[in-house]
Symmetry: C2
Subunit: 706 residues, 2 copies
Amino acid sequence: MKKFEHLFEPRAIAVVGVSDDGARPGTQALRALVKNGFQGGLFPVNPKYPTFDELPCFASVDAIPEAVDLVVIGVPASGVLAVLESCARKKVGYAVILSGGFRESGPEGIERERRLLEIARAAGIRLLGPNCLGFANIHTGLYAAFGSITRPPKLQRGAVSLVTQSGGFGYSIALACAEAGIGFRHVIATGNETDIDTIQLIDALLDDEETRSIIAYIEGTSDGRALLDVGRRALAAGKPLLLWKGGVTEQGAKAAESHTASMTGTYDFYRALFRQTGIVEIQELHEAVDYLLAFEGRRYPTGNGVAVMGVSGGSAIVFADAGERRGLQLCELSAQTQQALAGVVPNIGAVHNPIDLTAGYFSAANQVKLEAAVRATLADPGVHALCVNLATTGQAGSLAAAQVLVRVAQESDKPIVVFSSTPVAENAQALAEFAKGAVPVLRSPSRAARAVATLADYRRVRERLLAAPAAADTGVAKAEAGAEAATTVQAGRALSEAESKAVLAAAGIPVSRDVMVPGPGKLAIEGLRLPLVVKVVSPDIPHKTEVGGVRLGITSQAALDEAIAEVLANARRHIPQARIEGALVSEMVRGGFELIAGVVNDEVFGPVVVVGAGGIYAEVLKDTSSRIAPFDEATARDMLDELRCRPILDGVRGAPACDVGAIASALAALSRFAWAHREQVREVDINPLFALPDGVVAADALVVPL
Amino acid sequence: MKKFEHLFEPRAIAVVGVSDDGARPGTQALRALVKNGFQGGLFPVNPKYPTFDELPCFASVDAIPEAVDLVVIGVPASGVLAVLESCARKKVGYAVILSGGFRESGPEGIERERRLLEIARAAGIRLLGPNCLGFANIHTGLYAAFGSITRPPKLQRGAVSLVTQSGGFGYSIALACAEAGIGFRHVIATGNETDIDTIQLIDALLDDEETRSIIAYIEGTSDGRALLDVGRRALAAGKPLLLWKGGVTEQGAKAAESHTASMTGTYDFYRALFRQTGIVEIQELHEAVDYLLAFEGRRYPTGNGVAVMGVSGGSAIVFADAGERRGLQLCELSAQTQQALAGVVPNIGAVHNPIDLTAGYFSAANQVKLEAAVRATLADPGVHALCVNLATTGQAGSLAAAQVLVRVAQESDKPIVVFSSTPVAENAQALAEFAKGAVPVLRSPSRAARAVATLADYRRVRERLLAAPAAADTGVAKAEAGAEAATTVQAGRALSEAESKAVLAAAGIPVSRDVMVPGPGKLAIEGLRLPLVVKVVSPDIPHKTEVGGVRLGITSQAALDEAIAEVLANARRHIPQARIEGALVSEMVRGGFELIAGVVNDEVFGPVVVVGAGGIYAEVLKDTSSRIAPFDEATARDMLDELRCRPILDGVRGAPACDVGAIASALAALSRFAWAHREQVREVDINPLFALPDGVVAADALVVPL
């Protein structure tokens, strides 16, 4: 691990805050280092003791006669700054601050944390913490930590690294994984993240050869773009990144000026990011376990067709229930496959999917038959993954199955997952055999189904990224090029509807045809497609309807002139000081389906594009979907596919289908515009965006500058 | 257990189908009975052996010289009928048929199963199975079973009974529960349910004093009403009934003639029933574990306010995330509570909710403080339940906490749940202490939150039932009384829209004002509220729009007469043979919100009322809710509360609120009508049902007879 090398592989460590009280964090850390056999220099620090636990003990860090890479600080908060200053004098590279009493504990702590970072920055010290449990390098047995991490059971070596903002809950994830036989590389609690944060650590772990999967618990980040980047890097590297986002419901919807922004909350943006990067969201401990086990096989279904075989019909049904909800299908087996199965499955069984091997099938005597059945099934082109339900099969049968499945799995590029309910204590041999071949054993059929679906989802997102690795960058380039055209968008200068639509039109988003007129009598109705809409134009009137500034359904010259006069008069009466630029005469868009689209320039994520069902349903049903800008049309299609109203776009009740390609194209264009103008635009609100059988039209729009 | 007494407590058992092959079901069953110390008469049957496993072996059941209560049959399917005939001669009360090869295996098996039931009925023998794993009475050590049930680990005695249609998967549920320390009373696999079915067994278990909770896995039932009854009985008895319904996605939507029926599928009806009866739906093994543990405390939150305390901030956040999704709230603690907490919580902790006790708080030294903290929190009137997050606290601290929590829990009527991640193997003493006091220990904070929410939901449904125990019956009585009024509904006789509306109006559902006219020129427009709608009336034209049989928006006498003439002419032209009764002139209902409501007279559940958002969204968004008829207005309000469009009814964007009371009243009336006419009505389709600021109006309706 190149980044943070001397944090995770320090040559010498000082521990400040050792004491006779074995419960003190410093004492715990020192003893954990000793107990786990740290081989480098180890220097306890406490001015009260000449020696501690038989090691020479020093009065301060700078009193240590040798070079020190890492200082573990466990003194009370009030003493931490002085310790860090001694670290600065000693030119230490890294400090892990276990102590609490910083940002989390009020104004005094906030100031203390500010000073901490100041000292560290000035001295070039990188900090982990404060207010953290520390970290452990499981491969080298380095435990710079206190609390549960240092207590039994000891984590086994493995290929999973864990980074967690919450030491307590994060370690719950580690324990759940450990119970299922998952081994670890690094376990890192980041606490307040004053300096080193979760994203930097994930970034470093992606370069760590010993880390094959990463799991993280985060409560928040101030840099959504960094998370996006690291997510994409992980996907490209083929190292699954699993993430549990805590605090998803406590964060209320963001305060926002326009309708678009109120449609969604920050958690939606995290979820959008997960979908764009293949980050696997975790919301339960067993999901962490199941998906890490499943990913360990490094085989991914190339489609959604699954075959299920086993000795429990109920388990197959439960698999199908959970699988369908996640997009899997119990595929039809070919005649050839069924014929092959018929030769090795008892008559009272079933050779269609799910395949019923009949009770007691898993046994040493049946290994040859089982292998033939598994090979025949995997050879079926409709089968992209296989689930074998051992259910409550005992150890002898499970072991017999394990030997066959491990052998076949190694020669197949289709994933095999196993469901077993047999208690772990009764089944150790079989489980060890499965683990040897990285064939995941899940504890319920529904969990098995979700594991397969997660592998399939991951594969799909990864293929997209690998096929168009520069999609995002291309988008950026296009967006940057187009940025100059729309020079009317400047931070601080409000735009009227007409200007907003002109800006969006220049960015490649079709808008309805409009004519600006200064007053009645200036526009002949001939040549316009009726009916028309008349709206007052003023940068000071964002909500035109409320001031009587809109008239619909105009079909004659007289009505047009009357409407123009009326909206101008209404606007002047309601907001006398408004700068009124004239009236906008537009062709009314009719037919099609009303969507709403927009941009939120989020503090954490930067510009995010949101699309949703229009009208009252946008507000009430919250039927929206979002993606971090910029993105391509394929991603825009994904957004649309997530909408509950999606079937309407394909035409229902005899209505014609809408032009989904045009919608996707407009959304991608909007995302490029949003990215290019991220320094100027706060929000974009296109309401409605009409999805038509042939094209798409923004009938009203507002660009809100920063 | 009075019902099925000599099945579950037989005085003597014969086992037919013992053999030298230890894998045969009969052999397994006999050996399981012996090994587990069955004390009554035990008679192996096989004409080949004089003795079997040192017991006298008999040539047939009727050759046994003593009375036999139960015969366990494990011979191949082809021999089962003959064995059952010998049981009939022997006047046996019960037979458990382990053998497969019946309904599940094709036409021959179907016929064999039919004969099986015929013989049993004639002889008064009650059957469990065929094609089942049998059952075990864990309290008496009676194992009339084969397969996994008879293998280690042995289930411990306890108060949970399990009934399962799938032996294999059902036993997976039992094993998951056993692993968490849950003990059992009866474990019963029902297989094909030729005779005794899951519902009858649940009914019997409700009368079993040793059974305190029941969990069942079912794939289907042919009698939804029996399930409704047993669900209500369980709720009244305070015995939680947990149910896993398998096959929820494989069952496609029912074929149906009207729009209402196509809106929903059978699984929706199961879910409706669960909500009406407090049956707890299970969809994952750990849910079974968690909810059974939580129910064991027999304490229920009287509201949705929860306090969380512990040593892990991350765990509290995860609890809050999951809790909010299930309707729980981390309540604000009173000043008095916070003051009391301040005396026993360290300064760097937090005395607001979630309460941060700070790392290492759980210890023998802190027991007095912890007890004070817990008592103060439980005394807060806003707190209806308490979650204590031990997170990764070690055994000593966990045990200290357990001693306090068990003591306080016994004196409180508010439930306490605990989250602990500490591996079971490291924590046995603490877990035993918690189990002693029935304080549930959940394996993640989110699971703890869902357990609390499940207790709260159960309490709410139960209170409703106990407060109005005869609500359903009252409904029935009212419905029966009203049945005579609407004599126009007869099975086999199609109703026109006008007749349908008249029938529903008589049943208490407001309908729009209509006038039937034979042709143009017969109706003066004065006195009617404009605009009007004109529709052709014919029992032979269910879809009027398609034949040009509807004209909208009529505001003058001339237009009215023209419209009447036109719809009649259109109808005659399109369907020359249709019996045309005239034209229906109706006041157009305007404003309000368009719902759709209806009745499906389901084969399994009988009449079910469905309500949903109207228009295109009913079809596309499937925003519907259903309840088994009849029901009261409180239940109808629950239905409305489940709709995603529910906020619209309260008024959004300045629109007035709709009259929710009137909608509920109409739905309850519809449910009584549906129940009273269950022998005559196949479907009712009210589309649209206008929810108005003041009342509700069915603007169009069709009653489809059986």
